[in-house]
Symmetry: C2
Subunit: 349 residues, 2 copies
């Protein structure tokens, strides 16, 4: 005994109309082999019966499931919502469902996740790779979204250019002594952002790089970053590679009685959800996830169309999508006297 799907199938329509299932199929798929009049009758009957095509039947026959897999390094990353939402939308626009898999920041889990998706016969896989992973030839169309520095990358935000935007903004405001905050130097995204920042530092200006993960390992997770000392030593602007770190800096400075942006400017990256609601609201750089997702899906769909599912495919040529600077309240003109950690003029928002 086989289980029965609810609703009707092609056979129901065919017998109700006294025609063959082949004709019903052709009529519904609009491939034009059926008279206009019959097409109409078939359509009407299908609607009447509430016919819903079986993806399983179609998949078995065509070898295509119209489902894509999305492998994420860490679903709990704060940027994930934006990414997942954009990709889900782009996929559904292209007529694909989206199966998600979390690689939990672990290489073995990532490999297993990919294998599970392939078992489920996805037509292609979108991967945001775990740091330092190179996606091998997995026998299935793939698009990689990461950074331009990632080998095999398909699409990404132009993180480097985003970094340039930040520094240009800060330099224009007169800042000459900067602190650049990253989390982990093995992240291509972060090193691209910092690379772009450094590339725009004019001669004479200085920028120190501060890696949070190293600091936390040494002093404990969430321990003070010692930002007050940096400010006392002359730093007038802090540029973080993520709003998460910018927020940490912002609240630490607040707590130490250092005013933002009067005493120090702070900038972030990614426009995470709270960035606009914090006081003062955070100047940040945003990626255009909608475009990135659309390009990734488009590339993937093109590769799928070219494949007969029997051979592997090299990634398309990488595309990069520009980032945009959102100037809000945490960045302002540098305080005039460098080295004075106690400027008092109020340039409030």
């Amino acid at each position: 005994m086989a289980l029965v799907r609810p609703g009707s199938n092609l056979g129901d329509i065919a017998s109700a109309l006294g025609v063959s299932v082949a004709t019903v199929s052709n009529a519904l798929s609009g491939k034009g082999r059926v008279s206009a009049e019959l097409v109409e009758r078939v359509r009407a009957k299908a609607a009447e019966l509430g016919y819903v095509p079986s993806q399983a039947g179609r998949a078995l026959r065509t070898g295509r499931t119209r489902v894509l897999g999305l492998v994420l390094p860490d679903i709990s990353h704060p940027l994930f919502p934006q990414i997942a939402q954009a990709i889900e939308y782009a996929a559904s626009q292209a007529g694909y469902g989206l199966l998600i898999a979390d690689s939990r920041d672990d290489v073995a889990t990532q490999t297993a996740a990919i294998a599970r998706l392939i078992e489920r016969d996805v037509d292609g896989i979108l991967i945001i790779p775990r740091r330092g992973t190179r996606i091998a030839d997995i026998g299935c169309p793939v698009a990689v979204i990461d950074s331009l520095s990632t080998p095999g990358n398909t699409v990404s935000a132009d993180h480097w250019q985003g970094g340039e935007l930040v520094i240009d903004h800060l330099i224009t405001l007169g800042h000459q002594n900067l602190l650049l905050i990253g989390n982990n130097p093995s992240s291509n995204v972060q090193t691209d952002r910092i690379g772009g920042m450094k590339s725009r530092m004019p001669a004479g200006a200085q920028a120190e790089i501060f890696w949070i993960e190293t600091h936390d390992k040494r002093h404990g997770h969430g321990s003070p970053l010692g930002l007050a000392d940096k400010v006392a030593a002359g730093v007038t602007a802090i540029a973080a590679v993520s709003d998460l770190h910018a927020l940490r800096a912002l609240t630490e400075l607040n707590r130490a009685g250092i005013r933002v942006p009067e005493d120090v400017s702070v900038t972030g990256f990614d426009d995470l959800i709270w960035s606009s609601v914090v006081t003062p609201s955070l100047t940040t750089v945003k990626m255009d996830m909608a475009s990135i997702a659309a390009l990734a899906i488009e590339a993937l769909v093109r590769v799928i169309a070219d494949t007969k599912r029997t051979h592997n495919v090299a990634a398309a040529t990488p595309a990069k999508v520009p980032m945009a600077l959102l100037i809000r309240q945490t960045s302002a003109a540098a305080r005039p006297s460098i080295g004075t950690g106690s400027a008092t003029e109020a340039v409030g928002p």
Copy 2:
């Protein structure tokens, strides 16, 4: 011409071994109709050939796809990562894939999302409903994760009890004049949390409720909440229904020169990612998403097992999972003199 799957199928194994596909199928599924010796040979050959069962073939035959759908009201909500990660994990543990669909906080989109999932033959759907939506009988097993007040709910955190936890904590610390911050009174989750809070207010103590959405509509998105005035008027503790609002309060207070927790205590809800890294770190209440996800999947799988996919199913009896209080740095003993907005003693962390 039908497209060919990569890899091998049951037939390949069968002919390599000179047995029938039926036997191979039985051997691999371990239903015990095959001799131990043959089972071993089949297993070995399957491994050698890198055999991966076709879900499409199996689905067509069994009527089960082993895929579940997840419908979210708004993927970009900051709590979503926790939810999605927990559900993805629970689903994959139970042997199910997870198809996601974003309802973009819109009833029509939610309906369309559900329809798309059903077209893709999901075995069941998990829904976190949009506010105010009642999930109708959709002809497919469903589990609803929302609040206990939501009709048809399957599992949820015990938001009411979470609210009780917060107030018990604050009252113990000597607070008598509270401000309760919510966003939107039409959210069952939020009204449950606030209901729990109010239920534990002792006689004599007072709590004012402040709805952010109403305020923002009147004064503009992200505009100051006027918290300094509240504090001056005697409020010593602010309990928000979300870390997002707690963070907004925290930074606004900081900015106004009011110290947390020395002058005012602040608490949130949900332990969003930044909560522990902000200075001072946020006292909050966390749900046990892993348990909620496991219960939801378990209930759904049970319903699926009972169904022949031909009739609909009422939701199982609702379960509630207790929340846990995380006491961090933003809550402390109430300042002694009520009405004095300028307490100066340092009870710092």
